[in-house]
Symmetry: C2
């Protein structure tokens, strides 16, 4: 695993099927969503209208190779979105149908693949800035919440809620936490809200009962800080799933594509 | 008033200081926000993170002339954001301080001007599609509401609510209304939500008590349809006003800049 290219080759051979957290630290990782062409334009609109929750990096054009937009962030070398992620979630009718290490059977010329920014890189930056997230210290997955804040609707995508990740910090740390993550414009950027009043604005009732991930302990002098979360687009797919004909494919949570770039600005 | 250029000349000479609704129909109109350079980067981030509510068309670079980004939507001929709008709102400390027909005294080299998409053009398209908004039929200003949906925070811009405009339609018309306005990607685009459940999601309690504009009569078979509204950025300025040193200038509501372009796609 000396390079992203050789790591993707391991995934392509199905020699590696695990999560990518901690793999080749510093390299950008990307989320995946493959949808039937009939809903691709609606999904792209959803991303463009909601760039903080659904930061679109690039999309395929007719073949399995990523060719359009933002090419500078993407590999020069060959990669294949059907095989280069370690694990895939296959959806049918908005329901998780299967987990597989490739989606060769589900992909067709009538699908479009989207790569979406992933927050792994900004968490690394927080650690380097001495603002180690509590979930890292406590060895837990980050807490994620489905909120009452809805994406701005786009085509079939209606009533799709924001999912947020939460990391507790002291109020005095919030300015620095915001500055550090602000730079990651293609991977959710700075927090969308914070504080207990922020939790209320987002309709989060119990910070110890996350909808995804693990509960994270907070001390009395900490407040919650909320970032838009990459689970949002996959939840949008399941929300409108019955309206979608054919397979939808996402990366299995935590099992991302490792790109050749070390920055995302 | 044979052309946008000659209309802007009238404004520059202060021979025209009225609202621009119905002026040179079909030409794109733009909203204005001029902020001190110290908060310009935060304001630009706010727009980029919330493109539906704050659709940024272009910004100035050091002088009064619009030069950067999206130049194809903008005039080839000379225009001056300090004088070419018919009327300006001058803010100080987040409070409306004065209305003037130019902002020559308030503008300085230490200001940055932003042009923002305006929904006049999509209302025209609705009329042409036979979906005449009730406010037009009733000869009233559109109803606008401050919502409990907040922009994704950016720099000093925190806890800034979406403002929405509301136009009532029959449920059977909603699909067509969405399609017609979807194309106006730089001027708020399709509705962000609709229906009485949509009003609830947006925290709107009484549809007959708009925060701006006029109440619009609805029939029993109509539901409210909500678009993001260009008042949002000006409300953001007043929300964080005490944090901003120096003059902020907006167009006076309804008094827009008329551009040379007839489309905004």
């Amino acid at each position: 695993m000396s390079s992203p290219c050789s790591f993707r080759e391991l995934c392509r051979k199905e020699s590696f099927t695990g999560p990518t957290s901690g793999i080749l630290p510093g390299y950008v990782q990307a989320n995946l969503l493959i949808v039937p062409r009939s809903v691709a334009s609606d999904f792209e609109d959803l991303c463009l209208r909601n760039p903080v929750a659904c930061p679109l990096l690039t999309k395929t054009a007719g073949s399995a190779h990523v060719v359009e937009n933002h090419a500078k962030f993407i590999s020069d070398s060959f990669f294949d979105i059907r095989r280069d992620f370690p694990k895939y979630n296959i959806y049918l009718g908005g329901k998780l149908y299967q987990q597989k290490s490739n989606c060769m059977d589900e992909w067709s010329d009538d699908h479009v693949g989207f790569l979406i920014g992933c927050s792994f890189s900004f968490e690394d930056a927080l650690v380097r800035a001495g603002l180690v997230p509590a979930n890292v210290t406590q060895g837990r997955n980050v807490s994620m919440f489905v909120t009452t804040k809805f994406l701005d609707s786009a085509g079939i995508f209606h009533k799709c809620p924001y999912v947020v990740s939460m990391r507790p910090y002291k109020p005095s740390e919030v300015d620095k936490v915001r500055s550090v993550t602000r730079a990651f414009k293609r991977t959710h950027g700075e927090p969308i809200d914070w504080g207990f009043d922020g939790a209320e604005r987002l309709g989060i009732e119990d910070l110890q009962k996350p909808d995804y991930g693990d509960p994270v302990e907070m001390t009395d002098d900490e407040i919650p800080v909320f970032w838009a979360c990459g689970v949002t687009p996959q939840l949008a797919i399941t929300t409108v799933g019955p309206l979608i004909e054919g397979f939808v494919v996402g990366h299995a949570p935590g099992h991302m594509l490792v790109l050749d770039s070390t920055q995302m600005f």
